[in-house]
């Protein structure tokens, strides 16, 4: 920054650019209230938990109308996929430091065991690689102990300026 103060007056644009603060990087904690206000994530009641440089952890609260079995108080697997899908998107924006619309291309979930009865489930997803058009994610769902996951997941997302898939539908 100091160096810019001594640059040639002819390169005035560089100085101007240095004076305008860049857009702040994507912050999943600040973005969460907006993402979780509407639509499917809002209906599920997803909540922000924690994040790092390239990962995000969200929570899915236990709720009676999200159960997967008549006789057991265990969350269904469907909402756990939604939780991991949402944490995936947010980990991509966190790793890229910017929000760009993404579409899920492929998502795989392996269920290790049912979540504990009446237990919230957390989804922690890491974006381990981004290219210009794809983002690769992996993560776990757990009910308190990340070392003893309920499920593991892997996925690939595509970045979209406009959704290219909708163009395919002539």
């Amino acid at each position: 920054m100091l160096k810019l103060n001594h640059c040639n007056p002819a390169t005035g644009t560089a100085q101007k650019r240095a004076m305008t603060p860049p857009l702040p990087p994507f912050d999943p904690e600040k973005a969460a209230p907006f993402f979780f206000r509407h639509g499917h994530p809002g209906w599920l009641g997803l909540r922000y938990c924690d994040h790092g440089d390239d990962w995000v952890e969200l929570a899915l609260p236990w709720r009676e109308d999200l159960l997967g079995e008549e006789d057991r108080h265990v969350l269904a697997s469907g909402p756990i996929i939604s939780l991991l899908d949402m944490a995936s998107g947010m980990s991509i924006w966190t790793a890229r430091k910017v929000f760009t619309p993404v579409a899920t291309l492929d998502l795989r979930v392996d269920y290790q065991r049912p979540a504990r009865e009446r237990s919230a489930v957390k989804g922690r997803v890491e974006c381990y690689r981004v290219t210009r058009s794809a983002a690769f994610v992996r993560g776990i769902a757990h009910d308190g102990d990340a070392g003893d996951p309920v499920a593991t997941m892997a996925g690939v997302f595509m970045t979209i300026a406009r959704d290219p898939r909708s163009d395919r539908q002539a």
């Binding site: 639509g39 209906w43 109308d65 469907g78 996929i81 939604s82 492929d106 795989r108 898939r165």
Partner: protein, 138 residues
């Protein structure tokens, strides 16, 4: 308990609160459907990938349950895994899904599922599921 059609007996609380219902039956396999609403919306105007997955999974279980009933079996079903392929963005329309049993063994079943909107030949998403069948403890 509210009365619901016999065919929807096996839908989970989660599936019912998403609005998933049995739309009909083909080859003795239930065809499920869900109307577009904010409950299943992701990006504005598009189906959420998680909700699409939930519909596919529910249709996979429904297909397997129907087949097992025809065979006189009533095991407890446990998910092993699901792989979902998203083929095109789900629009603000009714979405259908139907499963097909690719292999039915004694302990596990492999089920493939398709979800579509207007055009049956252009699925918006497909899934492959492995499901464990465990004897019920009495």
């Amino acid at each position: 308990m509210t009365d619901r059609p016999e065919s929807e007996r096996h839908l989970t609380a989660y599936a019912r609160s998403l609005g998933i219902h049995v739309d009909g039956e083909e080859d003795r396999t239930p065809v499920l459907a869900v109307e577009f609403s904010s409950v299943i919306e992701g990006r504005p105007g598009a189906l959420h990938g998680g909700a699409t997955s939930g519909l596919l999974e529910t249709a996979g279980y429904a297909a397997l349950r129907a087949r097992l009933e025809q065979d006189g079996r009533d095991p407890q079903l446990k998910p092993i895994n699901i792989t979902v392929q998203f083929l095109s963005a789900g629009k603000q329309k009714r979405t259908y899904a139907k499963g097909r049993i690719t292999r039915l063994g004694r302990r596990n079943a492999n089920v493939s599922v398709e979800a579509w909107q207007d055009d049956r030949n252009r699925p918006i998403a497909t899934a492959i599921m492995n499901i464990l069948m465990a004897d019920r403890r009495t």
